[in-house]
């Protein structure tokens, strides 16, 4: 992106691995990207491609004893990965906030929702008076569209529907007016009608608060709705980073081609075979050598043996600002990407 300001978030050579009984799981493998103020960036990829682990690292949530994290994550100039516990606590919830996938389990079942929103505010405003906290909580509940908030402030999470709970989680996330909101599949567990409500809400709150949104999803429809920039992940790597229009109209990676082709979209011509990516994602314990996608890639023969032996680096392709990690030449990537039949 052509942006001269400093990024609000800069992820540099992030690697996260987990020691398990079967071996080392390389969940995130050398990922770098920048995010700028006010932007909406979507991260897509199949289940297990490392999206949640990556997102968790930004707030240093993968603190389990089996996890190893390397690289740098700069928020406000502070490297989250090496900062003190106290510094990280200052960032969590106030600079960077997070929404989780399952609104059913993300709220503490033992406390009223009013208490839970208040708690998030009070940690970062220790001097706030009771009255002030109460007003902030009510205002937040109104902002996220919870009807009759005075009545519902003393209710427990199980008394709310899934969509309402996700609104409460959003209220908790935004109560301190964070610079960055990380939403990890915030609508995956919800119905389409509720998903539409929640996405609308997030976008309108973004306008109001001006925060940056990092939205993780596996639904390309959601990407088409809200993204400016898109990062496509595969097996712990970024395989493509593009502007949303570029991704949908001239994607520059064979995996993106497959992903876009396999979506059954109701507007498109129905019936007839969907394009499929053969096989299934690789095990993160023993990734294929070279390009991790090569066993499933129909183009891997196009560049000699490189795909099987050399891991492709993310590089600029074309003039749209797209970046792709593929051994195919720019010309091939662009011409196939623009073509209607990418398979």
């Amino acid at each position: 992106m052509s942006n001269t300001a400093a990024p609000v978030l800069s992820v540099q050579n992030l690697r996260v691995s987990f020691d398990t009984q079967d071996g080392t799981v390389r969940a995130v493998d050398d990922i770098s990207f920048d995010v700028y103020a006010g932007e909406t960036i979507c991260i897509v990829g199949e289940s297990g491609s490392g999206k949640s682990v990556m997102a968790g690292s930004i707030m240093r949530l993968n603190n389990s004893s089996t996890a190893t994290t390397e690289g740098k994550i700069l928020v406000n100039g502070i490297d989250v990965l090496t900062a003190s516990e106290e510094e990280v606590r200052g960032i969590r919830g106030s600079e960077v906030a997070m929404i989780f996938q399952d609104p059913m389990s993300a709220l503490n079942p033992y406390f009223t929702i009013g208490k839970q929103i208040a708690e998030a505010y009070v940690v970062h405003h220790p001097g706030a008076s009771k009255r002030e906290v109460h007003d902030v909580v009510l205002a937040m509940m109104i902002k996220v569209g919870i009807p009759s908030p005075e009545k519902r402030i003393d209710e427990y999470p199980h008394q709310f529907s899934g969509g309402m709970r996700q609104r409460i989680v959003i209220a908790i996330a935004l109560v301190n007016n964070p610079k960055i909101l990380i939403a990890d599949e915030p609508t995956t567990a919800l119905d389409v009608t509720v998903q539409a409500q929640i996405l609308d809400l997030m976008m309108s709150l973004q306008k109001e608060f001006g925060m940056t949104i990092i939205l993780i999803t596996h639904d390309l429809g959601v990407v088409a709705e809200v993204a400016q920039d898109v990062i496509v992940m595969y097996a712990g790597h970024i395989v493509e980073q593009s502007h949303v229009d570029a991704l949908f109209h001239s994607p520059t990676h064979p995996y993106s081609w497959g992903l876009l082709g396999s979506v059954a979209s109701y507007g498109a011509n129905k019936r007839g075979d969907l394009y499929t990516i053969s096989g299934s994602p690789p095990s993160l314990i023993s990734l294929p050598a070279g390009c991790a996608f090569h066993p499933r890639c129909v183009h891997s023969k196009g560049s000699g043996n490189a795909c099987m032996t050399v891991q492709p680096k993310l590089r600029d392709v074309g003039t749209d600002g797209s970046r792709s990690a593929c051994h195919l030449t720019d010309d091939v990537l662009i011409s196939i990407g623009r073509g209607s039949d990418r398979s």
């Binding site: 119905d191 998903q195 088409a224 059954a264 109701y266 994602p281």
Partner: protein, 337 residues
């Protein structure tokens, strides 16, 4: 009844007793999960059933396959009422109608090999001896795109998509004529989803199956279904050829549902006429009077609260349960089915 009907449901009802109990612990309320549903499944065709979570899709599927007993109503399989069958007839019926489940992990017994899992229906029905069933299993595995040599492996050695293929192979073991698939691809990644959808389509045309396909993903249903039924709170609010329902939804709920589906191309952003439903689906324990959708409907009047609109063919030929269906071009010129 014409012979091109594979399965017909007539006014099916399923209530689950629930609610706070009296002193003696008898439930005093019921969840009206399926509350008067009728439809026909055409031979060799796919009927898609869509609707939000909790609207009764899975319950309907389980009632239709008689995994649970309906509270009332009838199910006609090939013109024969199977609601009251038992014993041998029920076994026969089970052979003709099979179910595919959503969760490929939990629907397979982890301690049985794939071969045993796929052969289970054959054994239960006492149809084949060991040797022949092995052959049949391998044949089925090939049919669904699994390597037949893997028949000794266990479910955990397969990926999600492959496990769903195992589930499909198992359901095909008895040569059923009707398949009821409850969210068969919801748990899968898009790239794998596409594989399974292609497989189901291929099997259907090769084997001439009739299929009920349940999903909450409207795009997937659009892709695979010939007819589509839209459910809301235990009732069908609209049913008809998928083409028509998707192109010009007649029920306000269908319209809202379709317009909530994310666009498939960023250039369509901010397109006109998107409808945003307010609020949530009411409780099926105590559904609204009259039209159940009225609490969220922008067209609702007093009539909607007083009189329940029946599911019936409009002048345009569309089958809708609404007092004020969306205007549809009458020129489609189809006679009511």
């Amino acid at each position: 009844m014409s012979s091109d009907v594979a399965l017909q449901a007539v006014d099916l009802v399923k209530h689950f007793p629930t609610g706070s109990k009296g002193l003696l612990g008898r439930p005093d309320k019921s969840v009206r999960a399926v509350d008067g549903v009728s439809f026909t499944l055409r031979k060799g065709k796919t009927l898609g059933i869509v609707g939000e979570s909790g609207c009764g899709k899975s319950t309907l599927a389980r009632v239709v396959t008689r995994l649970i007993e309906p509270t009332s109503g009838n199910i006609l399989l090939d013109g024969v009422d199977i609601t009251k069958t038992s014993g041998k007839d029920l076994r026969n019926m089970r052979r003709q109608m099979q179910m595919i489940f959503q969760d490929p992990v939990s629907s397979l017994n982890p301690r049985h090999s794939v071969g045993q899992i796929i052969a289970m229906p054959l054994r239960v029905q006492g149809l084949l001896d060991e040797e022949h069933s092995n052959e049949r299993v391998k044949e089925l595995m090939k049919l669904v795109g699994l390597n037949p040599e893997h028949f000794n492996r266990y479910p955990h050695e397969f990926s999600g998509g492959q496990r769903q293929r195992i589930g499909i192979a198992r359901s095909l073991a008895l040569n059923p004529t009707v398949i009821v698939a409850d969210e068969p691809v919801s748990a899968l990644d898009v790239s794998v989803q596409a594989q399974i959808l292609n497989l189901l389509e291929r099997l259907q045309s090769d084997l001439g199956l009739s299929m009920i396909f349940i999903a909450h993903d409207l795009s997937v249903v659009r892709h695979i279904a010939d007819d589509v039924a839209v459910m809301y709170l235990g009732k069908i609010v609209e049913i008809g050829p998928a083409e028509e329902v998707y192109a010009s939804p007649a029920h306000p709920y269908t319209k809202a549902l379709l317009s909530a589906v994310p666009i498939h191309d960023p250039s369509e952003r901010g397109g006109p006429g998107r409808i945003r439903l307010q609020g949530d689906v009411p409780s099926p324990i105590d559904p609204p009077s009259g039209c159940r959708f009225r609490t969220r409907c922008w067209k609702a009047t007093d009539l909607c609260g007083a009189v329940e609109p029946p599911l019936q063919a409009e002048a345009s030929g569309r089958v809708v349960a609404c007092h004020f269906p969306e205007e549809t071009p009458v020129s489609i010129g189809k006679s009511p089915e």
